[in-house]
């Protein structure tokens, strides 16, 4: 059965108000290190979920077994759970249909042999320069279908491809990555050159004393920071529960006036038109010229405030999955030129929140950290630990690069920040 056929079967066999999610996806990944592939894995799977609502009592069940008997058992389990659950008085209704703003696009994946060629091309660049390359090429294509008993009927096919590289030369390392819905956009040789150049420049790193430094963060690092803004700020659940740094501050100028942040699926890093509930993703302005403007909603959090969902259900909570930080006017070179004594950061590693409401986070730099003096990159640095309040980092003196890059969570430029707090060095 195809995803839509399964979804229709489940909905037709479910009594009362219900939502059905079906995804049918196949993916594979080639992973390599020291210029050789060490992992070649592939998987096919279905995810089938039904949510049953009976007088504000909700039950959910899921399976990956595509057989009528298993599907009926799943429906029966969800109905039983709904029967015996206490009601959730805050639940109003499943969402109603909205027209999808655009059609999703996808590209069929390369064969494993073609994917091997992509990896081979990247490794060839490393071999030419006497550098060791590690990384992964990943390919995913899926059919996604959401139906509900109120008329939601959202269906789309999506694809995403990524080549991520870490080049190693002695004690230096460099990172590069490309994420796309069309694998033909990946230029493995060019991407390898970027990582290799960074690795060669990183050999024989020095130390700087921890402390406050002005920084330029490449888009790889900025993208990871956006994830923290999304989870701990710009979603209605965090705001309604009092956990968001935005509590009582919507409408206030919290950020540098150069910051405009929107969630815009149509123009996002991997465009897809609807959310977990099948609701069309709307464009939501989160920050406009430094002023906090709003948050994203799913149907549950929206109905609590008498609003409609903005199409940002990530199943258990709303999340702005398509953030775009508007670019500025500076080239990367110009941003670096503004640093009198500063640090250029390629990528962040193992970041984690330390204080959610004050948005203090920690983590380390990785795969290309450089000391900059009087606007010029002087020498590579050992990785540094930072412990930084993100709100204060983005509140003033922010400069933005003029080129947007696709990340895991967002579309972002390079960013220049002041007084970034480095609290330790990575060394034995």
């Amino acid at each position: 059965m195809r995803a839509m056929d399964i979804a229709k079967f489940v909905l037709e066999n479910t009594r009362g108000e219900a939502q059905v999610n079906v995804s049918d996806y196949s993916s594979y990944l080639l992973r390599f290190t020291h210029n050789k592939i060490h992992q070649a894995v592939q998987k096919n799977n279905f995810f089938i979920n039904v949510k049953v609502v009976k007088e504000k009592k909700i039950g959910e069940a899921s399976t990956n077994v595509v057989e009528e008997e298993a599907l009926k058992k799943m429906i029966s389990t969800a109905q039983t759970i709904a029967d015996i659950s206490p009601p959730n008085p805050d639940f109003v209704s499943l969402p109603k249909p909205t027209p999808l703003p655009f059609a999703p696009t996808y590209v069929d994946p390369p064969s494993p042999l073609e994917a091997g060629e992509i990896v081979r091309s990247a490794i060839a660049e490393a071999e030419k320069k006497g550098v060791l390359l590690s990384g992964a090429f990943s390919a995913t294509k899926g059919d996604i279908c959401v139906l509900n008993s109120l008329g939601i009927n959202s269906y789309g096919t999506t694809s995403n491809y990524a080549l991520r590289l870490v080049a190693i030369k002695d004690d230096g390392s460099g990172y590069s990555a490309c994420l796309t819905i069309d694998w033909r956009e990946i230029n493995p040789s060019q991407l390898a050159e970027e990582a290799i150049e960074r690795a060669l420049a990183s050999v024989n790193p020095k130390e700087v004393e921890p402390g406050e430094y002005d920084v330029v963060l490449l888009p790889y690092a900025v993208d990871e920071i956006m994830m923290f803004f999304g989870w701990f700020g710009f979603n209605a659940q965090a705001l309604q529960e009092g956990r968001s740094f935005l509590e009582g501050k919507i409408g206030e100028k919290l950020f540098d006036e150069r910051i405009t942040l929107v969630d815009d699926a149509q123009n996002a890093q991997l465009p897809f038109p609807f959310d977990w509930e099948g609701v069309a993703k709307q464009r939501v302005v989160l920050v406009e010229k430094g002023v906090a403007k709003g948050v994203v909603y799913d149907s549950f959090t929206a109905h609590k405030e008498g609003l409609q969902s903005t199409g940002h259900s990530a199943r258990n909570a709303p999340f702005p999955s398509d953030m775009i930080l508007y670019s500025g006017e500076h080239t990367l070179e110009e941003l670096i030129n503004t640093l009198d004594k500063g640090i250029l950061v390629t990528r962040l590693h193992y970041t984690n929140i330390v204080h959610p409401k004050q948005l203090v986070f920690t983590g380390l730099t990785r795969d290309g950290t450089f000391f900059v003096e009087k606007g010029k990159v002087k020498y590579p640095l050992r990785n540094l630990r930072f412990t930084q309040n993100l709100l204060s980092a983005f509140s003033k003196d922010v400069l933005l690069g003029n080129e947007l890059k696709r990340g895991e969570y967002s579309l972002v430029p390079a960013v220049r920040l002041s007084n970034f707090n480095f609290t330790g060095i990575s060394k034995e």
Partner: protein, 480 residues
């Protein structure tokens, strides 16, 4: 089902594989979440499928499918070969597996009360009562409780003749309360951040006795709002329970994974400072430090009879009297090291390739009582439950935080502090250990979601820990 495994393996061998092994995994789980007095999610999940691993011209390929028909598993066998061919063409690591005894047998791990027999309304009511007890103040903005039950049935066969069945049951849960006032928010959890889990039945949830601690943690969360900030200085640090479990997990467990030595995690989670030249001679910690990886520990989440390559569960000394002794290994890496596998190859579900994973990484107890440890501390900080964690890509520079800290002065606990953080460099930190508590203080932590690999896999691992004291630790590194 054994027939399906054989079909997949036969198909791979017919396509030219020199070796194949396959797993069929059936997994069911039930999750009950209650939040702020209302059911947040009550859900039942079932998943089944087959994963097959092949070696073709010394290249490794793996494929997985949810289609458990003869045609589905045949296609999976074919696809695993295709993946190996893709790797072969692009240039691959030569894979040779260590010679091991061929595993056979059927094992059902014991429990007293089947968690799937406990009626769902009883579970909901249990959490609603926790919720009521945590509702001590309007400042408690988020009250949450979770109960999880898992049963996993795993069949394993290989072209070498392995034939293994294992059935595990996992149960556990936890509660948390978050207090909010102005720009301050503080969370307390019990029995640990995210809960605690064991290879047991409903009897484990009963033993947690969540009701007994619900009011206490909520009051602590509220009190933390106005507590002093953790001081910023160097002092003795006493850690126990999940805080010490996390410390071992991140700074001993992960760096001991031998695939990191060979660069298999370089581009993602990183490598390890425990390079091969350190094996058998590196002073990882003080002479009091003895750490084992024990897959034979009953009830712990990392307990099994055979790993996902069919290698028998073992108890391995990672650190003995402070010296680094052994890695966690799989058959592939064991061959490279010229040793037998340590039986640490584990995969999440049916759809993932087995990777080197922790089992139960445990710090052996010492001879102090907890009272003695505190009494003999002039100026210190004690943390029992973690809240935040970060460590570098060599597993050297770490920074961890706890939910609540207790200041110690002249051998007495003097009061709580909020946002207790500490930082250090792994070998320096473990070499500063000067006291460990005795067997009576052991805490068994179950981590249901240890992350590793691409695609990411979540693994069940355990840590059995006493309390330990470390000297001259830098604490208080948070800046607003």
């Amino acid at each position: 089902m054994q027939e399906l495994l054989k079909k997949a393996i036969e198909k791979a061998l017919n396509e030219g594989a020199s070796f194949a092994d396959a797993r069929i995994v059936r997994r069911k789980s039930e999750e009950v979440i209650v939040k702020n007095g209302k059911p947040e999610r009550i859900e039942s999940n079932e998943e089944a499928g087959l994963g097959i691993r092949v070696i073709w011209k010394k290249a490794l390929g793996f494929a997985a499918t949810n289609d458990l028909t003869p045609e589905g598993v045949r296609k999976a066998g074919e696809m695993a070969i295709q993946m190996a061919k893709g790797a072969h063409k692009a240039g691959h690591m030569e894979v040779i597996l260590s010679e091991e005894e061929v595993g056979k047998g059927s094992f059902t791990f014991p429990y007293k009360e089947d968690p799937f027999d406990i009626p769902l309304p009883d579970k909901v009511d249990y959490l609603l009562e926790c919720d009521r007890l945590m509702n001590v103040s309007p400042k408690i903005k988020v009250r949450e409780g979770i109960l999880t039950s898992i049963r996993e049935e795993k069949l394993f066969a290989s072209s070498e003749g392995a034939d293994i069945e294992q059935i595990i049951t996992v149960c556990g849960g936890g509660i948390s309360a978050t207090a909010v006032e102005g720009e301050e928010s503080q969370q307390r959890s019990y029995p640990a951040f995210g809960g605690n889990y064991a290879q047991m039945g409903w009897e484990f949830v009963k033993s947690l006795d969540l009701h007994s601690q619900a009011e206490k943690i909520a009051k602590e969360a509220e009190a933390l709002l106005n507590a002093s900030l953790c001081p910023s200085d160097e002092r003795a640090l006493i850690i126990g329970k999940s805080m010490l479990g996390l410390q071992i997990h991140e700074s001993c467990g992960h760096p001991s994974e031998a695939d990191r030595v060979f660069g298999y995690e370089t581009s993602y989670a990183g490598d390890t400072f425990l390079t091969r030249d350190k094996l058998g001679n590196f002073q990882y910690g003080s002479p009091l430090v003895n750490i084992v990886a024990d897959a034979t520990l009953p009830n712990a989440l990392g307990h099994f009879e055979f790993d996902d390559e069919g290698v028998r569960a073992q108890k391995i000394e990672l650190v003995k009297e402070g010296i680094f002794q052994n890695y966690l290994t799989s058959r592939e890496v064991a061959y490279k090291l010229g040793i037998k596998s340590g039986g640490c190859a584990r995969a999440e579900g049916y759809s993932n390739l087995p990777l080197i994973r922790m089992t139960n990484i445990n710090l052996q107890p010492g001879d102090f009582s907890l009272d003695e440890l505190i009494q003999e501390t002039k100026k210190g900080l004690m943390i029992e439950e973690y809240s935040s964690w970060s460590i570098d890509d060599k597993r050297l520079n770490f920074q961890f935080a706890g939910e609540i800290g207790w200041l110690i002065e002249d051998g007495e606990i003097k009061g709580m502090v909020k946002n207790p953080t500490y930082t250090g460099i792994t070998p320096q930190f473990w070499n500063s250990l000067d006291a460990i508590t005795d067997e009576s203080t052991l805490f068994l932590q179950g981590v249901p979601n240890c992350g590793k690999g691409e695609p990411p896999q979540a693994m069940l691992v355990g840590h059995q820990v006493p309390y330990a004291r470390f000297q001259k630790v830098r604490i208080g590194v948070m800046k607003r």
